[in-house]
């Protein structure tokens, strides 16, 4: 078994190493710098945590802050990947199942790979552990109990990933499952909105139950050894192991094609979305209309895109509502005044991977066709961009409709503002996205609702480029604040739109040049598969 584990890890290492020469030096440098910045910031916080936890005089304070900190750590590890619809690296079981590899070996590797969704938390826990180890008031064995907490998170994350991956493979049911998940994940926010703050405050201020994993870990890590705390922690680890193992075994027996076929109805010949697909034909001429129609048809059938589109107007609304509106008695704030815009921008962020950053990667086989048919690449890019803009528009309409249904305070000006802001940001994202799609094309499986790469280059690109595209909008808000007039806001926004249009056309020229020069590399990159681990 160990030989096979070693072989899989070796093959993954060789795959990663072999792939490096195929990556452009600029791209590699960019990824390295951004990765260093991202993890560097967490390493910085880890050092701070280390210094803090090394102080013996603060031990009493640690008893208060450590359990909620570990709870946050747990939530980051388990919930953030779901929020970003990204489940980290995992074994490509489809490729490995044909070989005689024991299930426990596959499970072992899968558990180790769950580290990929919580590297940031591992850094912080290491910092805290080193601090506690240096703390004279804490016994030397105590920080090592964090290992149990890490194990608990790894097993839990394995179970959540496998469960979600299977649930999301069910056609039709997929949307319902996501909706239920959204409701569950947003329950605390809903409670806050419904005026249950008192009970919530009581919950957070009360002495944390010693049966919770973060409380038990905190007590052990601070040197308060008790057999009951240890038993509680071991019980949680065992429960998480059982959950992870059962879900993993089920995934091994799972047939995605069968689950996907279960919800399909062979009787219906005309799609309910036909009106949407025909929309471009009513306004534009071929080949542009045909290209947009193809994009609309393809994306509406891609589970990954459907998921992020649905999340935009459901999850986004619920997640941001309590932050924006908080308590009923809270006076109006910037967030509550700009709630619709805020949710629209979050939705744009969710949609960006499919629509902007890697617009050829989702329908990779079509990329080859674009180079073969007698259509200019500028028309292809324009088709993709117009289809993207149409999806963004529909997302904002959906958000506005749901807001109205939930009777959230909305004015016509706020709706106009949300549209205007999103349009300006979209112009800038399209400019960056066209370049990124041609300089960094990646094959993406559109059937997989959850991304596999937790910290892939596109994700880092999103984290660092997205804020840059927000600058013109931020300036518009600054102008509104400084001059206290809507004219200043919309004036700056209009200026941003003009600059955005110029940037868009300039980037389009560069993108077209790249498409011509990098044709072979683009096609090769889009036709590549992965190693034994999908990353």
């Amino acid at each position: 078994m160990w030989n096979q584990i070693r072989a899989i890890i070796w093959a993954q290492w060789r795959s990663t190493r072999n792939h490096l020469p195929h990556t452009s030096i600029g791209g590699l440098l960019f990824t390295t710098v951004l990765t260093a910045l991202w993890y560097g910031s967490f390493a910085f916080v880890a050092v701070f945590a280390g210094i803090l936890f090394s102080r013996p005089e603060e031990l009493d304070a640690f008893h208060k802050i450590l359990p909620p900190s570990l709870l946050l750590c747990f939530l980051y590890w388990q919930v953030i990947p779901v929020l970003l619809t990204s489940m980290g690296a995992s074994l490509d079981l489809r490729k490995l199942l044909v070989y005689p590899i024991p299930k426990q070996a596959l499970f072992g590797i899968e558990v180790i790979l769950r580290v990929s969704t919580g590297v940031e938390m591992l850094l912080l826990l290491t910092g805290a552990a080193v601090g506690l180890w240096l703390n004279r008031a804490v016994p030397r064995w105590a920080p090592f109990t964090f290992a149990l907490f890490v194990l608990f998170n790894l097993f839990c994350s394995t179970g959540v990933r496998d469960l979600l991956a299977r649930l999301l493979a069910h056609k039709r049911l997929r949307e319902l499952i996501i909706f239920l998940f959204v409701i569950t994940a947003a329950l605390p926010q809903l409670m806050l909105m419904r005026g249950s703050q008192g009970r919530m405050r009581q919950f957070f201020n009360s002495e944390p139950s010693s049966f919770l994993p973060w409380t038990a870990t905190a007590r052990l890590a601070l040197g308060e050894f008790s057999w009951s705390s240890l038993a509680v922690m071991l019980a949680w680890v065992l429960a998480a192991y059982a959950f992870g193992r059962i879900q993993f075994e089920r995934s091994l027996r799972f047939d995605a094609a069968e689950a996907g076929a279960r919800g399909s109805s062979p009787k219906r010949k005309v799609s309910r979305m036909e009106w949407l697909y025909q929309l471009p034909n009513a306004i534009l001429r071929d080949p542009l209309a045909a290209l947009i129609e193809k994009e609309l048809r393809f994306l509406s059938r891609a589970p990954r895109f459907r998921l992020v589109f649905l999340m935009g107007f459901s999850f986004g609304l619920l997640i941001w509502a309590p932050i924006a509106f908080g308590r009923a008695s809270t006076p109006r704030s910037f967030l509550s005044d700009n709630y619709l815009t805020l949710v629209s921008v979050y939705a744009l962020l969710l949609l960006s991977d499919a629509l902007f950053w890697n617009c050829f990667g989702f329908d990779r086989s079509a990329a080859q066709v674009y180079f073969l048919v007698p259509v200019k690449m500028s028309t292809v890019l324009a088709g993709k961009n117009l289809a993207a803009a149409l999806w963004v528009l529909m997302e904002i309409v959906a958000i506005a409709v749901v807001c109205a249904l939930l009777r959230l305070p909305l004015t016509g000006l706020q709706i106009l503002e949300a549209f205007a802001v999103t349009c300006v940001i979209t112009l800038f994202i399209l400019s960056v996205g066209n370049l990124s799609s041609l300089y960094n094309p990646r094959a993406v499986n559109p059937v997989k609702a959850m991304k596999t790469a937790a910290q892939s280059r596109s994700q880092i690109l999103l984290i660092f480029s997205f804020p840059l595209t927000l600058i013109p909008v931020a300036l518009a808000y600054l102008a509104r604040y400084a001059f206290d007039t809507e004219w200043a806001f919309f004036g700056v926004l209009l200026f941003g739109a003009v600059v955005g249009t110029l940037v868009y056309f300039y980037s389009m020229q560069t993108a077209l040049q790249a498409a011509g020069e990098r044709r072979e590399r683009i096609i090769a990159a889009l036709s590549r598969g992965e190693g034994p681990i999908e990353s």
């Binding site: 795959s15 072999n18 044909v98 070989y99 005689p100 590899i101 069968e258 062979p266």
Partner: protein, 251 residues
Amino acid sequence: MGSDAAIAVHDLRKIYGTKAAVDGLDLEVPRGCFFGFLGPNGAGKTTTIKMLMGLAPPTSGSIELLGLPMPEQALAVKGRIGLVPDETLLFDHLTGLEFTEFVGRLYGLDRSVARERSRELLVLFELDSEPGKLIGDYSKGMRKRVAMAAALIHRPELFLLDEPFEGVDAVGARLMKDILLDQVRRGATMFLTSHVLEVVERLCDRVAIIHEGRLVKSGTMAELRTGSETLEDVFVRVVGGAPHAETLDWL
């Protein structure tokens, strides 16, 4: 069942939604036989081979490979099988040598043995001229040849071959056929799906034809043919296809 056959499939079914991709398939492949598994597109060949490989669990029915039940004895069975699977199961970022060595290690071979055999196999399949080339950059024929090389590395008793000659040039195909026939002479069993009926006719001693998920014909070549019929004639007759005489006007 406890059959002595290399492959024994009983009442095998695979339902996708409301459609039966494989519908009550009964099949027995004797050991040491070169078995051709034919059918038109969408007949259920790939689904059957996926179930045999353990990639798709059957909806109902039973599978026995080399006398062992699947999936109960999957680990023991998989170790004795060689696969030339669908191209998508290859690892594009590995070189041919790395891939075959990796597969050898997954089959439990010692690393040095796996590496040595990989080198020899790549020379045999004429894939050694560009050692640094990644499988992702291979041509279709080269991908099939490297898959075949990996399938041979642990000297399996049963081969499951899914369109192994697709895209392979005449010289490469001849080499592969010779190796496969040699393996059959050694006592191995071949289970081959192919659309190239001439290849099946030349290599296989038994053939089964599947259509719409059901077995419609099975037997030796002599049993299938009537008179001077070729396998293609038999195939067209059995699956009910008829050549369309008329074409589209505008064409």
